[in-house]
C-alpha cells in the first residue's frame, strides 16, 4: 500500500454489507417458511431469491477485489488441505451459504413440488446464514493490527445489524403493496417486536464493544475523527438513523400493538437499512486509521 491509502476499501465494504443483508434475508425467509410457507410464499420467494443474488454478488466482489483474482482457488485449496488461516475459516461457510441460497431460491420457483428436499436446503441455508452473517466481523476481529476491531463482540454486532437491515427490506416488501400490508398486519406487529428486541441487544453490544476495545484512543478516534467520514457516519448514520429512529418508531408500534402508518414504517425500514451500512463504513475506515 502506498502511504495514506486504505488496504481494505469500497469492495470490502460492499462484500461486508451484501453478505450481512443476504444472511439476514435468508434467516427471515427460512423462519417464515418454517412458520407457514403457504401463507408467506410471496415474501419467502422474494427474500430467499434476493439473498441468493446478494450472496453471489458478495462472492464475486470478494474475488474481484483480490490483487490476483485468478488465483482465488488457492485460498480454497489451502483451506481444505492445510487450514492455516484463521481469517479465511469462514470461506467455506460463505460458499455453502451461497450454494444453499441459490438452490433454495431455485426450489422456490415451484415450492410445492419437492417439499422435503426444499426443507433440507432451507435448514442448511439457515444454519450457514448465521456464520455467514458473522463472517465480516470475524475477518475484522482476526486482524490483529487494528485495535478498534479487537473484541469478540464485533461479529455479533455485524450479524444483528445484518438481520435488522433484512427486516427493513422485508418490511419494505410488505408496505409497498396495500394488499400485502393489510394481509400481513400480524407479521408487521411481530417484526416490530423483534426489531425492538434486536435494537436493544445491538445497542448494548455497541456499548460493550466500545468499552472492551483495548485502546481508548482507537475509540476516541472513531467518535471524533471526521475523516474519512468515520465519526459523522457513526453518529448520524448508525447511532441516530440506524438505532435511534427505528428504536423510537418500533417502540411506539410495539406499545400500540398495531402497525404504524405506511409512511412511518417506510422511514423506519429505510433507516434500518442505512444503519447497517453506516456501522460498516465507520468501523472499516476508523479501524484502519489505528
Amino acid at each position: 500500500m502506498a502511504a495514506g491509502q486504505f488496504s481494505w476499501d469500497i469492495p470490502v465494504l460492499v462484500e461486508e454489507y451484501v453478505f450481512g443483508l443476504a444472511a439476514g434475508l435468508a434467516i427471515i425467509g427460512v423462519l417464515l417458511s418454517l412458520r407457514d410457507w403457504r401463507r408467506f410464499s410471496s415474501l419467502i420467494r422474494t427474500s430467499i431469491t434476493l439473498s441468493a443474488v446478494l450472496a453471489v454478488v458478495g462472492l464475486i466482489t470478494l474475488v474481484i477485489e483480490l490483487g490476483r483474482p485468478e488465483r482465488a482457488a488457492y485460498a480454497i485449496v489451502n483451506l481444505l488441505l492445510l487450514g492455516t488461516s484463521v481469517m479465511s475459516r469462514t470461506v467455506p461457510v460463505l460458499m455453502i451459504f451461497t450454494g444453499a441460497a441459490v438452490l433454495s431460491a431455485l426450489f422456490w420457483i415451484r415450492p410445492a413440488s419437492v417439499v422435503k428436499i426444499r426443507r433440507f436446503f432451507e435448514v442448511v441455508l439457515l444454519l450457514s446464514a448465521f456464520p455467514a452473517g458473522l463472517q465480516a466481523g470475524i475477518l475484522l476481529m482476526a486482524a490483529s493490527k487494528r485495535l478498534l476491531w479487537q473484541t469478540p463482540i464485533l461479529p455479533y454486532l455485524y450479524l444483528f445489524t445484518g438481520i435488522l437491515a433484512a427486516i427493513g427490506i422485508v418490511g419494505l416488501l410488505i408496505i409497498r403493496n396495500t394488499k400485502l400490508y393489510e394481509e400481513f398486519t400480524d407479521l408487521l406487529v411481530d417484526m416490530n417486536t423483534y426489531t425492538v428486541v434486536l435494537l436493544a441487544v445491538t445497542g448494548l453490544a455497541t456499548i460493550a464493544h466500545l468499552v472492551f476495545v483495548e485502546s481508548p484512543a482507537a475509540v476516541i478516534n472513531l467518535l471524533t475523527n471526521p475523516f474519512p467520514l468515520a465519526a459523522p457516519t457513526f453518529y448520524l448514520g448508525y447511532i441516530i438513523v440506524g438505532l435511534g429512529l427505528p428504536a423510537t418508531h418500533s417502540y411506539i408500534a410495539f406499545a400500540a400493538r398495531t402497525p404504524l402508518s405506511r409512511n412511518i414504517l417506510l422511514r423506519l425500514y429505510i433507516s434500518l437499512i442505512v444503519g447497517a451500512l453506516a456501522l460498516r463504513v465507520s468501523m472499516l475506515y476508523a479501524g484502519q486509521l489505528f
Partner: protein, 330 residues
C-alpha cells in the same frame, strides 16, 4: 474448541520455542548507526528493487484522517522534516532508515532507525495468510512466496509493525525477506580428494548452517560499515542486545513485541519517541485464540439464553392451553 486447526499452529514452522532458540537473528544497534544508508542500497541491489522516483497513489482524505488519529508521521506527532528517504516502505522499498533530530540543549542529536520487517518468531501475517504465501522458515525469515499470493491484503491488516506493502502492478504483497535466498545458501566445503585424474571426485560436506562465520549474511548486514547490523544465532543476538542496552542505558525493541522477533533493536531513546509502533507483547496465536474462545463463549451464552427464553415461552403457552382446555372441559 478452537477455530485454529492443530496443523495450523506454530508447529508447522518448528515450535515457537525451537524457532526462538535455534533461528538466526539480526541486531540493529542504533548507537553505532551513522545513517549512511548503505543498507538501503544493498537491499535494493541484492533484491533487484526499482528505485522510487515519486510517491505513488497518495489518498489525501485518508492521510488527513490518519494525521488526526495518530498525529503527523514522525516522532511524537512532529512532522517529518528530516532526511528520511524514501519516507516510508513500499512495494519496492523493503528497508528505509528513518532520520530523527532531537534537540538536547544547544546540541542537535541525530538518530537513525531501521524501518523494515521484524520477522516475528510467531508471525501474525503468516496466520492471516489464506494461501500460505507467507511462510516462516525455521532459520528465521518470514517470506512472501509471491507465486502463491492472491493479494487479499490480510497480512497488511494483521502486521502490527505495518510492514507488508501491496504491489499493484503484480497484484501481490511484497516485503523484506531477510535475504532468505542468501542465508539459506549453505556454503559447502570441499573435503578430501577421492577419485583419480580421469574421474575426479571430492567429498562435499555442508558446513553447520547456523555458524555465523560460514553463512552468507543478509545484504544489509554484510554492507554495514560500522557493524550497527549484526547477524547470528538468536540466543547470541539477544544476549548481545541486552548487554549493549544495559551498557548505554538504551531500550530494547523486538524482544517481547508480538511475542518476540528475529530482528532486535537496541535504541537510544524509547521506541515511541522514534515513531516505532506500540505492539502487544503476547504471542499472536495466544491473542487470536483468546478472542476466538471469547467469541465462542458469547455465542454459546446467546444460544443458551435463547433456549431458556424459548422454553419459558413454550411452557407458558402450554400452561395457557391446558387452562383453556380445562375451562372448556368444565
Amino acid at each position: 474448541m478452537s477455530l485454529i486447526p492443530e496443523k495450523a499452529t506454530q508447529d508447522r514452522f518448528g515450535t515457537y520455542e525451537e524457532v526462538a532458540r535455534n533461528s538466526l537473528a539480526m541486531l540493529f544497534d542504533q548507537d553505532l548507526c551513522i545513517g549512511c544508508r548503505a543498507c538501503q542500497v544493498a537491499c535494493k541491489r541484492w533484491n533487484e528493487r526499482e528505485p522510487l522516483y515519486e510517491q505513488a497513489g497518495r489518498d489525501p482524505v485518508a492521510e488527513l484522517g490518519r494525521e488526526i488519529a495518530k498525529g503527523k508521521e514522525g516522532y511524537a506527532g512532529a512532522e517529518i522534516v528530516s532526511f528520511t528517504n524514501p519516507q516510508n516502505l513500499e512495494a519496492h522499498t523493503w528497508l528505509t532508515m528513518k532520520f530523527d533530530e532531537f534537540g538536547d540543549g544547544e546540541t542537535l542529536q541525530w538518530l537513525f532507525t531501521r524501518v523494515s520487517c521484524m520477522h516475528c518468531v510467531e508471525a501474525p501475517c503468516v496466520y492471516g495468510c489464506p494461501t500460505t504465501a507467507l511462510w516462516k522458515y525455521p532459520e528465521g525469515p518470514v517470506v512472501v512466496r509471491t507465486d502463491l499470493c492472491i493479494g487479499c491484503r490480510n497480512c497488511i491488516e494483521t502486521c502490527p509493525f505495518d510492514v507488508p506493502r501491496m504491489n499493484f502492478e503484480l497484484g501481490v504483497v511484497e516485503k523484506c525477506t531477510l535475504c532468505a535466498d542468501r542465508i539459506s545458501n549453505k556454503p559447502i566445503a570441499v573435503g578430501s580428494f577421492k577419485g583419480d585424474t580421469y574421474n575426479p571426485q571430492f567429498e562435499i560436506k555442508n558446513i553447520f548452517p547456523y555458524s555465523s562465520h560460514n553463512l552468507l549474511e543478509p545484504a544489509c548486514v554484510e554492507t554495514c560499515p560500522t557493524d550497527a547490523l549484526k547477524w547470528g544465532p538468536r540466543n547470541e543476538i539477544v544476549r548481545m542486545a541486552r548487554e549493549k542496552a544495559q551498557r548505554i542505558g538504551g531500550f530494547l525493541y523486538g524482544l517481547e513485541e508480538a511475542g518476540g522477533t528475529n530482528v532486535i533493536y537496541v535504541l537510544k531513546r524509547p521506541p515511541e519517541e522514534l515513531g516505532l509502533p506500540k505492539v502487544y507483547k503476547e504471542r499472536p496465536s495466544t491473542r487470536t485464540e483468546r478472542l476466538v474462545s471469547q467469541f465462542n463463549a458469547l455465542g454459546l451464552a446467546g444460544v443458551l439464553m435463547l433456549g431458556v427464553v424459548g422454553a419459558v415461552r413454550w411452557l407458558g403457552e402450554r400452561k395457557n392451553r391446558i387452562l383453556k382446555n380445562n375451562g372448556k372441559g368444565k
